[in-house]
Symmetry: C2
Subunit: 241 residues, 2 copies
């Protein structure tokens, strides 16, 4: 089995944003599809993990887009493992058009948790390690994100049916959607998100009252947070160009 | 070209709801994918319509599910045209598993609008009519939905970046998502939506303050509406079992 997986998508016009571009939540869905298919084909997918009473949990994600695909663009999504540690594994992505021109890159960090205790479990370094590939992913690793909740008032939000994933937790992609929706629509008319970075810190669940925060420290970069009782369950940073 | 189109999907676990079932908004996306692909393959898709400065607009949709697909289920989605009129065409759908067992049926009604004036245009009855198929779609046609806005207080909602489609209007599937999110998560634990019906009456746009209404007349059936300045831009009815 090849180390690098290649998955094909077509940017569907009915899923585009008002500018006719693929949205970051949609890119998030592509990445998760590719990650789970790549893992599944290599014996460490959703079903393999379930058998061991474990599940992959996305811990951090950074997406950098040079250019966003537009309607009917064919997208080649490459994904590979670049590091495996005791508790975390790092997976990279490249999105390219059919001629090989890069749309963007992404980096993700995953942990395997026990589905009962929800605590991290040790990774099978040997099994995962044999798929590590040196393919370059020339974007910064996910780093420290500054707290936003002490700089900006929160907008109250209660978790709804559509927010929950198969584990009954706040869906990783829905976090991105709700955070981007804190920006005024007009901002998307003249500017573009160059980099989105998100750190999932703890699991959002039904009945948890949340607050959504966006710290306006810099016109080009905002720190964001989703908090429960004042404590961040998720932090994000968005860089515009 | 066959009259009935067949499209294949796999129910991805990361897109399931907390019960491990495919959501109605996801089914809406499948239907729209199948409808636009079926139309595109027969010369009346998004691009063909754009060339004539027209676009398909979903006017009504009814979905009846006997059973919801669960994680990794293969879904065969059949779609065909069952009626063509001067201004509207009706398209049916059947969702089945790989052995032919029906998950559910759907009926949709579409108009073609002029992209500049946003007014309906006459359909090419001859061109569309040659694809009409008699395949059965044993669910009730979309019918009259009672107003909910005079029976239930509205919850204010402002249109966000993620709500807008490529035409800059409220995305058809996002309407469904926001309406279902008016139900308490607990309701989905013990009950199931048997039928969802939605009528798109006018286009929601950036900056339009909206109200979301759910009339609790019957524990098994609710009428819903999305209003702008007291006038419904969308009505829906949900039947539970």
């Amino acid at each position: 089995m090849e180390k690098v997986g290649l998955f094909h998508f077509v940017a569907e016009p009915y899923l585009m944003d008002f500018r006719g571009r693929v949205t970051l939540p949609m890119i998030g869905n592509y990445l998760i599809h590719a990650a789970s298919s790549h893992a599944g084909e290599r014996g460490f997918g959703f079903n393999d993990m379930s058998e061991r009473h474990t599940a992959w949990v996305l811990s951090r994600l950074a997406i950098e887009m040079k250019e966003y695909p537009t309607a009917f663009d064919k997208i080649n999504l490459y994904t590979w493992i670049d590091e495996v540690g005791r508790l975390f594994t790092s997976r990279c992505f490249e999105l390219a058009d059919e001629n090989g021109k890069t749309f963007g890159f992404a980096r993700s960090i995953w942990a395997a948790i026990d589905v009962e205790t929800r605590r991290p479990t040790l990774l099978d370094i040997e099994a995962l390690g044999k798929y590590i590939d040196e393919r370059p992913c020339p974007i910064e690793k996910p780093g420290k994100i500054m707290p936003a909740e002490n700089k900006a008032e929160g907008i109250p939000y209660s978790i709804k049916y559509s927010d929950l994933d198969i584990n009954g937790h706040f869906n990783s992609v829905k976090y991105i959607e709700h955070l981007l929706d804190l920006f005024d629509i007009d901002q998307f008319k003249t500017r573009e998100i160059g980099r989105l970075e998100i750190a999932y810190q703890s699991e959002g669940k039904q009945g948890m009252p949340l607050t959504l925060h966006k710290a306006e420290s810099d016109p080009d970069k905002q720190d964001m947070a989703i908090c429960h009782e004042g404590k961040a369950i998720c932090r994000a940073a968005v860089t515009w160009r």
